[in-house]
């Protein structure tokens, strides 16, 4: 479940960044309206998925970090994960605030209209554009760190951290997660 959510969020982030950049470039018109509407809908979906994953994580303990990590490495791994979660929440929320401040209510795929988070404010709208863009860049950096960490585990440390996140290993990962305390070595 946690793994499925992880890759679903990865796929949606890829679509999301593409839509965001296209929407930014398009001239005012139907295409821009449609692109940004989809960007908002997917952003809300990511927000919901991130919330579900966090809830899942809270209910189901995550596999322990490998033993071969130093305290600093553990700290870095935790920071990256916390940062990624923070951004998965902050990006959709700042986007939602941006739309509300602009006076454009947000809907989820033309199906459900969401309430405005703030009232109309040009100053807040312009501030949110800056914050949203800065957070997007921060997400890029965090993802680079996250991927670099995963690759380091796989190629340099030669442990199971990356492999247990890959599809087809769901049962093994789940077993490891559940049995992390008693038989960590088998993971």
């Amino acid at each position: 479940m946690s793994q499925l959510l992880h890759w679903l969020i990865v796929a949606l982030i890829a679509v999301q960044v593409t839509l965001g950049l296209i929407g930014l470039e398009l001239p005012l018109g139907m295409e821009k309206l449609a692109t940004l509407a989809r960007h908002k809908s997917i952003g809300l979906t990511i927000l919901a998925l991130a919330a579900i994953r966090l809830l899942w994580r809270w209910l189901n303990p995550t596999p322990a970090l490998p033993d071969n990590l130093t305290a600093i490495e553990r700290f870095l791994a935790r920071c990256t994960h916390a940062g990624l979660y923070a951004l998965l929440f902050a990006l959709p929320l700042t986007g939602w605030i941006m739309s509300s401040a602009r006076g454009f209510p947000v809907s989820w795929f033309n199906l459900v209209q969401l309430p405005n988070l703030v009232s109309r404010s040009d100053a807040l709208y312009h501030a949110m554009i800056e914050v949203h863009a800065a957070l997007a860049i921060a997400l890029g950096l965090m993802l680079a760190l996250h991927i670099a960490g995963a690759l380091r585990h796989h190629f340099l440390l030669k442990d199971d951290t990356l492999r247990r996140m890959l599809p087809g290993r769901a049962t093994a990962a789940a077993r490891c997660g559940l049995a992390a305390d008693s038989s960590r070595n088998s993971c």
Binding site: L28, G29, M30, L33, A34, F104, V106, S107, V112, R120
Partner: protein
């Protein structure tokens, strides 16, 4: 001779006063708008969410006795709260305010309903005239010692019926066809 002259004078006086009172009655049954206490807004669906706009300048003449309702809206006075969107809406693809500066509604029939009226008449918007039925409630209130008529209601029209939204905007996927007009007007007797 003096008697008949007197009768003639009295007849004339009666006729004049009758005409005057008839005019007075006609004046009394007609209501005019209190712009500061009236609003004409509209809601439309943009990307699946309800958005709002308003017209700031319009006139209304309502005469329930004579069965007349006439509304004129200055199209340039619209505002959707967003300058970029306003620019697009004012342009040729939408309201084309330069060519069609006014929208008009003139009721040809006023049908009494339980709470007010249904005005059936011609709505001219962006140069296209169509028959629409405009339902509204009508009640008289005493506001600050003043005899005020409250006209409220809403009616939904389809923007494409009036050619509002051309080219790419003919699609209703991201900009709904239905536009609901909301009116909450205060009117006072006289001009």
């Amino acid at each position: 001779m003096p008697a008949s002259r007197l009768t003639g004078a009295l007849t004339l006086l009666a006729a004049v006063s009758l005409a005057a009172s008839a005019r007075a009655v006609a004046r009394d049954t007609s209501y005019a708008l209190l712009p500061a206490h009236s609003s004409l807004t509209y809601t439309f669906t943009q990307a699946g969410a309800a958005n709002q706009g308003r017209f700031n300048t319009f006139t209304v003449r309502f005469d329930p006795t004579a069965g007349r309702l006439a509304v004129t809206v200055e199209m340039r006075s619209f505002d959707t709260g967003d300058s970029q969107r306003n620019r697009i809406l004012a342009g040729k693809d939408f309201f084309d305010v330069a060519r069609y500066p006014q929208a008009r509604f003139t009721a040809s029939r006023l049908i009494r309903t339980a709470t007010g009226y249904r005005a059936v008449g011609a709505l001219t918007l962006r140069g296209v005239t169509r028959t629409v039925a405009v339902p509204f409630t009508w009640r008289i209130a005493d506001i600050g010692g003043r005899h005020v008529g409250l006209l409220t209601g809403r009616t939904t029209i389809r923007r494409l019926d009036f050619g509002i939204g051309r080219g790419q905007w003919r699609s209703t996927e991201w900009l709904g066809n239905a536009v609901t007009l909301h009116y909450a007007l205060q009117l006072v007797p006289g001009h």
